[in-house]
Symmetry: C2
Subunit: 350 residues, 2 copies
């Protein structure tokens, strides 16, 4: 996507290093950052300079490249370090496994160039997946009669969460570009405000009309008929269609169901965890309490007061109208997913 | 309740003026403020130096006293000004009507003393109502087997929202004082953070164990069995049991229903709007967008981005397990309410 007229991706190779957009500097500053070592990449993931399931995967893949540049025999150690950076996004493991599958058969020195090649391919594939998600999601937006089409989204599942295009926002960008009047309700998404900071920045940069709301407001807007559809991204979809996503997604899904508002989840295939039967057992990352107790550096609770900070929740498949994938739209169910990914039938049954 | 050992109410007479705890200074400072004129009282309500449905009513009653002190013939003008300060809380109108009923028959000069007398009585009555709500709610907490009893609350319906005791928090204080181990999940309650600022300050001051969470987190905690009950306050309950309360309450009620967690609403009789059949038509205050776009003085969205800021939502009676009033606990329904307030049967039928 373009920033002030210049096309960008969220991550790219720069000689023997990698560059990223530092998302912790947004929306007030636009800063790119050079990752020279595997530890830089791990830190970028942990500190959420990069975030979003697909981009976490891409950064981990490039992290392996950086490790191998230093030491061609460090594959297994780097794999472990990178895998431990964030627990919930399944794309992280997927991207690392994909790299390892290509690299393990190769002798030490030959791994380096193969790693860079595969990481770059993987990024290109992610862009293609997102573009395809956008095309399938666009058809759902086209079906809405109301003008403008009011779409609510939670957190950031835009191009900043991926390599380009985004998942949940890809259909919105395509609808906007196709001349369909759209308006996006952007949940601010406490505690890290990815909606207020990132989604509104993306939408503003692209010129898509939108309004920021607190996370508390979406239910009320649905009750009053001001939301035509919800589209969110996801960090992991289990084999039965349960959806792990940013904390608070579940509440919006409940409100959508209660008000007959279609609730869509956009995802690329690698976000599906075929090894998990349902979402009840997904490990939910517990993040630092300071993300809750301090906002923009200001203490917002009395001194000494405790906070809890679960980063994600699980929306049961029964609340999801449909999944939007690069292969098409399907019901959020085992059979729905297998209809699009029949090659996984054996794995899902295991 | 006590602050550092000294018993306080949220509002009290001081000669020909009124003093309040300035709630916009909490939790980091404790400031009392002198209201010398009716306009001071109106400003205190508008700017949320005082907030909470019962306390808004008490402040409006004292606002009339201040107006009459200056001009004994200013009753009707002051009534209008004060009524327009906040649109959603029904206690505001109730308190003003109660005062007007007493004062209208009296000649100008005699009104002054009668006004002070009635406002003080009204405060004492509010304290008695809250204490009684506490006693009835305590029985519900006593029925929970799990220890500690995990109670989730939204916004602030503690003693800071009333004259003393609180509504939703009164049963919690009584349970704690009775030696029942309780733990409170405190929704931070964006955009004004009344949970993080006020509820956590109250609970800390009284020594009640609690943990602050973002508004997004409650559903997840319920899914994982970490909430035994929800108790919230309300700004207006319609004759059928629909509940207007701080924006986001509806989302928590949906999650409670979805997880079989009892959802209770605590309220004094004056919060019931017998003239409204249901909550669909309640006017929802749209507050300033800056409450969303700036947190603690810091801009959290890109420059020029719009925000919407509805202050309340309506939780349909079907999601409410029971109402806790000063007269006892009843189903959230027309018949439930009339069983406790049979004298309203004629009004509710009209």
């Amino acid at each position: 996507m373009k920033i002030a007229g210049t096309p960008y991706r969220t991550i790219w190779r720069a000689d023997a290093a990698v560059e990223i957009i530092d998302q912790t500097s947004l929306p007030h500053g636009f800063v790119t950052r050079r990752l020279a070592t595997m530890e830089d990449a791990a830190h970028a993931i942990r500190s959420m300079q990069v975030r979003g399931a697909p981009l976490i995967g891409a950064t981990a893949a490039y992290g392996l490249c950086l490790a191998l540049e230093r030491d061609p025999d460090s594959l297994e150690a780097a794999y472990k370090t990178l895998l431990a950076t964030r627990p919930t996004a399944v794309n992280l493991r997927w991207a690392l496994d994909d790299m390892a599958r290509v690299l393990r058969p190769l002798a030490g020195a030959r791994r380096i160039e193969a790693a860079w090649k595969r990481a770059a391919e993987s990024c290109d594939e992610d862009v293609a997946l997102c573009e395809s998600i956008g095309r399938h999601g666009l058809k759902l937006i086209e079906q809405v009669k109301h003008r403008p089409v009011n779409i609510l989204t939670h957190c950031n599942a835009g191009w900043l969460a991926c390599v380009d295009w985004g998942t949940a926002l890809a259909p919105i960008y395509m609808a906007h570009d196709a001349g369909i009047p759209v308006h996006v309700w952007v949940d601010e998404t406490r505690p890290r405000n990815q909606g207020a900071y990132l989604t509104s920045w993306e939408l503003k940069s692209h010129g898509v009309p939108h309004t920021v709301i607190v996370d508390n407001a979406g239910g009320h807007l649905m009750q009053r008929g001001q939301v035509d559809m919800v589209i969110v991204g996801t960090d992991r979809v289990t084999a039965n269609g349960d959806v792990a996503n940013k904390i608070g997604t579940y509440l919006k899904a409940l409100a959508a169901k209660d008000n007959d508002v279609p609730f869509f989840v956009a995802l690329p295939g690698p976000t599906i965890d075929w090894t998990m039967d349902d979402g009840r057992d997904i490990e939910i990352e517990e993040r630092a309490p300071e993300e809750v107790t301090r906002i923009a550096g200001v203490q917002v609770v009395p001194e000494g007061v405790k906070a809890a900070n679960p980063g994600f929740d699980v929306t049961p498949a029964r609340l999801v109208t449909a999944l939007i994938t690069e292969r098409g739209v399907c019901p959020a169910s085992r059979e729905g997913l297998l209809s699009l990914y029949p090659e996984q039938r054996a794995k899902a049954r295991a």
